[in-house]
Every structure is written in structure tokens, then in C-alpha cells.
Amino acid sequence: MLITNRGPNPPACQTPYWAAAADISVVYPGSKSGQAQDPSVANLSSPLFIIGYSAGADTALIFADDFTRRGGRVIGMALLGVSFSGQMGITTLTQEYERILDELLAAGTYVYLLDDFPHNPLASSYTPSNPSNYTYVYSNREHLDSDSLTAIDQCVSGKGTPLPGPGDGTNNDPAVVEEIFGWFRLRGVQP
């Protein structure tokens, strides 16, 4: 088996239920800044609802930072398994993520951070500069990134072809999709 820098096809393989809810899905091309610059998202208009999974969650923050600097508006963000790392020109997301999240929340973006990434202190330790339980939630779900689950990352772990139906991980459990989308709907944000 191989792993390459280029990621799996989101709707066909890695995140079918998340991608089904999206108008646009972006394959990871080998770097987070490169994904944020994908031509398919170069000229989107506001408002946006952004969902990022794994490295794509880091990309989502890099993209949102750039998009809002250009006057764009992000109404909601679901960050699934974010690591807060990645190159951003001369700086890194590790150095910038607190600023970006603070700015997004200050601008009215609703943020759901699902932390399924074990041993990552950055996600659990982030505290918004102006805490609001209404617009930001941190949810520790390390159990959603366990290899005991069926088909977590079926596309990468060499376990064969993708499941024909739902799994029970962050990437492939439709119940997780519904739960998180429900959090946004309660706040008047329709993903």
C-alpha cells in the first residue's frame, strides 16, 4: 500500500456523508496552503459554510483567514480533527491559529471544533479571547479516531476498498454529521 501526498477523493472515498452535504469538495493536493489555493475555491462569494477534516481542517483555517481578509464572510466552520499545523508563507498555522479563530469568532463565525486527534494539546487548550458558549464549542471525541472503529480512514489504512455504507468514525458516520449540523441549526445557521 502506499500513501502519497495527494489525498483520497472526498465524496468517493474518505468523507462521503460530509461531501454529500457540500456544494464543493477539495482534494488535498499535497500541502495545506496549496489546498487553500485550489482553483475551485478561488472566486467564491459570501457567505460560506466551511467543513474541514483532518489536514483539511487546517486548510479550512488558512483559507478562511485569506477569504475574510478579502472581505469574505464565513458563517460557520466545522473543524474536524484539526491539528493547527501547516505552512502559511513564512509563518505557520501553529503560530497563527489562535489569532485566526479569535478573528473569525469576533466576526460572527460559528465554530464547532471536534477534536478526535489524540495527543494534540493545541486543540484542547485553545480558549477564545472572548469566550462564548453560543458561537464556539470544543468537543473532545478521541473515540471517533480509533482504529477499533470500522473503516476509520478506510481509504488510507490499507484495509481494502471503502465501505459501501456508513462507518462509525468522524469521517464516515452520518450520525456525527447530523449531530454537528444540528448544533449549527440550533443557532440559526443552516449548513
Partner: protein, 411 residues
């Protein structure tokens, strides 16, 4: 509060997905490694373990002594683009008389994401310590050069790639030329006369399907998923077609001294790989079966100076066809290793193997390292993932953190 009724119909949903790359693994390691002042850590840690918890270093470490800083890469100013160069790598070295010319490649991004990314090429002339940027454009719309090859007669060649980014995410519909050549007079790459063309891709998930490798500083081997295998002798200017169906993209190639070659084939992205052996004389393409599942995850192959076939950093097959496992590949856990396994990039003239890893994790799960199969020792010497090229004077070259570095293997 925003109303869902106001938003409905206006909202665009964007999903950005990627690699699942971050968990830990625990594994045994028979590789011993002495950590010295030139090392961030051992090769063992670099290749088979990941520091826990997830914690990108406060400061990424540049290549340590005995690597020498040669020159800082100058910024490239193009209107609308950031001057920062991403993915900067040394890709080729050329001797011009006694002078050495180092070719590098990088990517620049639009300041405001309004322009497509650009691939930039640049060369450093060691004799006068000068830098020059070279266009990657080919004079044909949407085609550019990504890989660089230096032929023994001093000519510089490039592959041809479709600029998916420049075309707003479209794919070509016409046949594409497979090779380009640098025109010294005009300072540009161009499509040479007589070049062959291969069919366009079938979908936009895998839009550059031709893999090119060069051997003996003159012979190109060209593999296209929708076509046969081609051999091109750059000194003779002659193509030869081998009617062998690959039925898969070639991901990596390693040449054996006996003229045979090993191919890694597989689908784009993550997926199953197949290791194959191609014999040009018999025109036979056969599978090379790895011993067991301990070998199944790897990235890249390489034939070293002792003619051993290395499969990533897992181990090797010696000239007697015996497999020697150094470290089982991760299976159930260790996504960061699955996503960015140590990748062999060079077997240098002193017998060492050089590896890099890239996971875009601010230096946490990435960098460059060497491993000496004779002493069973190794060294992770920078957090920057780098390609490494050796010149005719037994000097290694790499680029890290916008600086060109060199290491003299004879000193």
C-alpha cells in the same frame, strides 16, 4: 442572530478534506542510531516514530553542521504574487566546465488567491555566486515544466505538466507532449522537434499521468497510464516504444545496474501499490511480491550502491533475492507514518541513504535524514523536508528555509 431563512439559498458549503495524519505508533526498531550534535534526533525516531504529544517545534532547525550554507535564495517579484517560495527543492545539478550550476524549483501563490499558483525555476551559478529565475512556461498554453533532467552533453530537459491550477481546474482534452528542452539562447524551455505525444487524462483527479525517469544521464524512460512505455535516448535523439500495458500510474522508478528497472505502480492518492520489475531486453513486466504485510506501507524505492532494492525505510532485497526487514510498516495505528512514510531520495557516493518526510505539520512529522546501512546508524538533521542531489565532485546539495546548502562528502 442570523436566520436560516435568510441564509438558505445564499450559503455555499465548502468542504475541505484531507489526510488523516495524526496518531501515534509504537514499534520496535532494530536500527541503532547514534545521536550527535549534527542531529536533531536519530534516524530511528525520524523514520519509525513520531514525537508525542503532537507538538510542532518552536523553531524548525536548518541543516546542521557539516552542511554549509551557500547562498540565500533571492525573492521572486511577480505582480500579484507573494515573494515567498513554497516547496523549494534542488532538482538537478549541471557541470559547465569547472563550474557547477544548481537548479531549483518552487511554487509561488497569489497574494489574494485571485491568481493561479505558479511554478518557478531558478538556477545558481556557483562560479560567480549568481541566481537567475527561469520561466517554467512552455510557450504552449497551460503547459509547464516541473521535473528537471541534466543530460551528459550538458543539455537541460524537463517533463511537461498540465497546469490544472491555471485553467481553473480543467483537464486537457488533447494529446500532450512528454518532454521539453531548455533553449540556452532564449532562456526558456520549449517542446523539441520530434517529441512524442501521449493521450490526455480521463478525469481531473489524476491529471498528470506521465512519469519520467532518466538513467545513465542520457536515457529517459517514459510511463503513461493510458499508453505504452517509451525509451528516449537524448544523445541519439531516438524514441523506442515498448508495447507493455501498465494499466496503472507509475509512482516511482529505480534502476538496477543490469539494465532492469523496478516500478511502483498504483492509483492516485492513497491506495494499493504494486511493485514490478521491467526488463527492457525481454520486454517483460512482472510483479515483485513483498514478503508479507510488514512491508506493505512505504513511499518510494531506491537501488543502493550495493545493488540492494530498498522499499521505503522498511528494508531491502539484496542481490541474492533475500529480504531484510529493518522495521515493519505501520498497520493499525500511526496515521502520520502512513501518510508520510520516510521516502528515499538518494543513495550518495559514500554509501549513505537519504530520506525525507513531509506532512505539512509545521516541522513536527517531517524533515530530512540519512541512514548508513553499513554502520546501521543515521541522523535526522533538519526539520525541513528536502530533495538532495549529488554533483560530480561528491558534494550534496539541498534547499531548506530559503537557503541553498552543500555538504562535501570528501571533507
Amino acid at each position: 442572530m442570523l436566520s436560516k431563512y435568510r441564509l438558505r439559498g445564499l450559503l455555499k458549503k465548502l468542504i475541505i478534506i484531507l489526510c488523516r495524519g495524526f496518531t501515534f505508533m509504537i514499534c520496535i526498531s532494530p536500527v541503532s542510531s547514534a545521536q550527535t550534535s549534527e542531529c536533531i534526533d536519530t534516524f530511528q525516531t525520524f523514520a519509525y516514530q513520531i514525537p508525542k504529544p503532537f507538538a510542532p517545534p518552536d523553531k524548525r532547525i536548518n541543516p546542521l553542521d557539516p552542511w554549509h550554507s551557500i547562498s540565500t535564495i533571492p525573492p521572486h517579484h511577480i505582480s500579484g504574487y507573494s515573494s515567498e517560495i513554497h516547496q523549494l527543492d534542488v532538482v538537478a545539478v549541471r557541470q559547465i566546465g569547472q563550474a557547477t550550476e544548481i537548479w531549483l524549483r518552487g511554487v509561488i501563490y497569489s497574494d489574494e488567491n485571485q491568481l493561479p499558483r505558479l511554478v518557478v525555476l531558478l538556477r545558481y551559478n556557483e562560479a560567480n555566486a549568481s541566481w537567475e529565475y527561469v520561466s517554467s512556461a512552455l510557450g504552449i498554453p497551460n503547459l509547464y515544466v516541473w521535473n528537471i533532467f541534466v543530460v551528459s552533453d550538458g543539455t537541460v530537459w524537463g517533463n511537461v505538466e498540465w497546469n490544472y491550477y491555471f485553467t481553473g481546474g480543467t483537464i486537457p482534452t488533447n494529446d500532450l507532449p512528454i518532454l521539453s528542452r531548455f533553449n540556452e539562447d532564449i532562456g526558456h524551455f520549449e517542446i523539441p522537434d520530434g517529441v512524442i505525444y501521449t493521450p490526455p487524462p480521463v478525469d481531473n483527479y489524476d491529471f498528470n499521468m506521465t512519469y519520467i525517469a532518466m538513467v545513465e544521464s542520457r536515457v529517459f524512460w517514459i510511463f503513461n497510464v493510458n499508453d505504452f512505455i517509451y525509451r528516449y535516448d537524448a544523445l541519439q535523439g531516438r524514441y523506442e516504444r515498448y508495447e507493455v500495458n501498465l494499466n496503472a500510474s507509475v509512482r516511482d522508478v529505480a534502476f538496477a545496474p543490469n539494465g532492469e528497472m523496478y516500478l511502483v505502480t498504483g492509483t492516485s492518492g492513497a491506495g494499493e501499490l504494486t511493485l514490478k520489475e521491467f526488463s527492457p531486453d525481454s520486454r517483460r513486466l512482472v510483479s515483485v511480491f513483498l514478503p508479507n504485510s510488514d512491508w506493505e506501507t512505504y513511499n518510494g524505492i531506491l537501488v543502493d550502491r550495493s545493488e540492494r532494492l530498498w522499499v521505503g525505510a522498511n528494508g531491502y532485497r539484496d542481490i541474492n533475492q533475500n529480504w531484510q526487514l529493518l522495521q515493519p510498516s505501520p498497520k493499525e495505528d500511526g496515521y502520520e507514518l502512513l501518510w508520510a512514510p520516510a521516502t528515499p531520495v538518494l543513495a550518495s557516493s559514500d554509501g549513505r541513504l537519504w530520506y525525507n518526510r513531509f506532512l505539512d505539520t509545521s516541522g513536527w512529522a517531517e524533515g530530512t535524514a540519512w541512514y548508513d546501512p553499513v554502520t546501521n546508524q543515521g541522523c535526522w538533521f533538519t526539520h525541513f523536508p528536502a530533495n538532495i542531489v549529488e554533483d560530480n565532485h561528491h558534494r550534496l546539495w539541498l534547499a531548506a528555509n530559503d537557503v541553498l546548502y552543500s555538504l562535501n562528502l570528501r571533507s
